[in-house]
Amino acid sequence: MVLKVFFPSCCSSAESGILIGRWISEQNSAVVLAMVHFPFIPVQVKQCLSEVQRVTKVSVSVLGSWSNSKQEKEESLSEFFEDLGMIFSHELWIQITKEGDSKFWSCSTLQKHSNNSKEEEIILVYYDQRKVMLSHLHPPLDTASSTENKADDASKLAAIFDTVAKSKVLFMIDRYDDGPIKLTHWQSDGVEASVIVELLKQASVPACMLLTFLLSLVSGICRSRVLKFWPLSFLWSKLSTCEQLGHRLQHLQVISSNKKAQNHTQLMRKANIFVSLLIDVALGILLMSWLYRQNRIGQLADTLIPGADHVAEELQDLLQWLMGAPAGLKMNRALDQVLGRFFLYHIHLWISYIHLMSPFIEMILWYVGLSACLGLTVALCILSDIIVLLTFHIYCFYVYGARLYCMKIYSLSSLWRLFRGKKWNVLRQRVDSCSYDLDQLFVGTLLFTILLFLLPTTALYYLVFTLLRLLVVIVQGLIHLLVDLIDSLPLYSIVLRLCRSYRLAAGVKFRVLEQQEGKPLRLLMQINPLSYHSVVQTYRLPTYSCYPKDSWTSLCRKLFLGELIYPWKHKGEKQD
């Protein structure tokens, strides 16, 4: 079988030494992690390797030798290397030789315990050690769900990524240290660290503790008995602002927990929540500064009352139109007048209520606007709640119209069955024939005729108010969609994919480098980053999804029958 040697590109210019890494026998591949330079004592090397093996649980061993000769003195070295091969117990001893500055290295293997000198083909794969160590390999989304046979089918690449990632301890020993062993690996170009990152890490611990303490206070207040009395708890459940605030509180709890993130997914989730909160609060403060400048709140309050008045007047005009001959249809005069006057009285009540509130509007708006500093999502939820409160009369009219219409439809269908001599059997949940008395039939037929001819009037009122209600529902839905988007977008992952695309790997790609006859095949392994679509799908934050659960057919059916529709009913649990 073909032998594959994964060689870190940072070690290409290292001095002669021996190669240490991991041998994966099932795939016939050797992953070189580092190089040990002369002088070294083999016993100490073995000790160090067993120590590393114990800590990282990766079976690191000596794989072979590497000779980088600037002049022609390889003969003695090659014998020396073969003797070394005897000392270190390994089935296959790999010898890589580089002459001068040539790109083409010669690679040969020595089988110790078998004498067949079968010429295996060798493939030399260069990889960027730092990038492979930092990146996280994502399995394809459809296979991620199947958990059986995961250990057996671990892809070959996952094994390689795993090996490099787990050997972090090995990379802490450097050739500039004073220890017994001098190593070369990706850190040999200079140990990297960022002062800011270290400072932030140190500062985050007390900050987290403070945040946890504050959060426990707040959640204690929220859970207190005072807020659980019936009118208040009903109000809290209806307002979407409270739900959004609760959601954000949960996010804060996740961030401020003391436990370090166990694996990659948890770390990304924490980072995404943190960035999302930061952006949210920043946008909210921006909005607040825009609102409070140039007395915009006063202007808003000034336009709010005339706006509500205008809406009420339009509704009155609409009702007058319905009470006349709308669109040329001839309505039943008496029913028309009754319904029209009923709704007109409601509007009159509503207008007086608004005028009662008008002196306090500006102050209320001013204080409510302050809560925009909690985040843009909270401000949008408040806007949605204000819209709900201002259009409450439209909701009432819709409920009245729908109930009237629904009652009419049900009685019509029941009387239609009577008309044909049938009856609904509640016990058997089906339509059965039934013999009615003559006077029952007479009264039933009369009622049926009356209701049938009154149907167009009721239906028209129902249609008009349902359309208005749907308009308000659509506006509310759009606002909630926007809030959902801000809540669930994994901004940190997207920016990471943009700037450090090697951290999120979907796979690898190979590039064939220049070849020379007689030398092993040279390939460059690069990281194939995840597509943006997969990034968003994998790292989406869970939100309270409020998409309509009803399909179009069931919605139409409900509208036809007059059942009340609540398309944005919030579910109780989180949806991923």
Binding site: M1, V2, K4, S25, N28, E121, I123, V125, T143, S146, E148, N149, D153, S155, K156, L157, G507, V508, K509, F510, V512, Q515, L521, L523, N528
Partner: protein
């Protein structure tokens, strides 16, 4: 060793197949699609701009013309970056895997690498496309649970759609390398 041969695609356009043998177990096969013609491009854009100019002259609003120019520019960029494929190549490395690359006209390359353990076989399939029956090359992926099953079919050369003679060449090249993994003894 590199050789290039000319073939025709399923719709009759001329395409070129390049075969490169890097080593005994590594082969690269690239199919080059017909390039974007300057004539058709300029004809399409001039037609759209003439119509937009006529509309803006009729409605005396210069916004129509500027909007049309903007849309055409954006559309051209989207077409070059996401739609027009220049070259599709297949890199078969014995005992490592198969790599499928599509290069777009704007220079973007989209790559997928399939490990050899997942590859069951490379076959030529028939498909009904609109009113004709075309042949296409595809990679069959192994189902991890069922040794006889196929979990996924990955079609190759979808933009260039070469005809059967070209596909047979590619098929033979691939099979030579895939056979090596069956005849090579497993290492202990």
């Amino acid at each position: 060793a590199m050789e290039e041969r000319r073939y025709r695609s399923a719709s009759g356009a001329p395409i070129a197949l390049q075969c490169r043998q890097h080593s005994a177990c590594c082969r690269e096969l690239a199919v080059r699609c017909p390039r974007l013609q300057l004539r058709s491009l300029s004809a399409a854009t001039s037609a759209v701009w003439l119509v937009a100019y006529g509309l803006s002259a009729l409605s005396e609003n210069s916004m129509v013309l500027s909007a049309a120019m903007f849309i055409v520019l954006i559309g051209l960029i989207v077409y070059l970056h996401f739609v027009k494929v220049d070259q599709e190549s297949l890199l078969v490395i014995g005992s490592l895997g198969i790599q499928v690359t599509s290069s777009y006209a704007s220079g973007k390359e989209s790559t997928t690498f399939i490990e050899m353990g997942q590859v069951k076989d490379v076959v030529i399939n028939e498909a009904i496309h609109m009113q004709k029956v075309i042949y296409y090359l595809c990679i069959l992926l192994q189902d991890p649970g069922d040794p006889q099953g196929v979990s996924e079919v990955v079609p190759l050369f979808q933009s260039s759609k070469p005809r059967l003679d070209c596909l047979i060449e590619v098929y033979k090249s691939c099979q030579e390398i895939l056979e090596q993994r069956k005849t090579a003894p497993q290492s202990s």
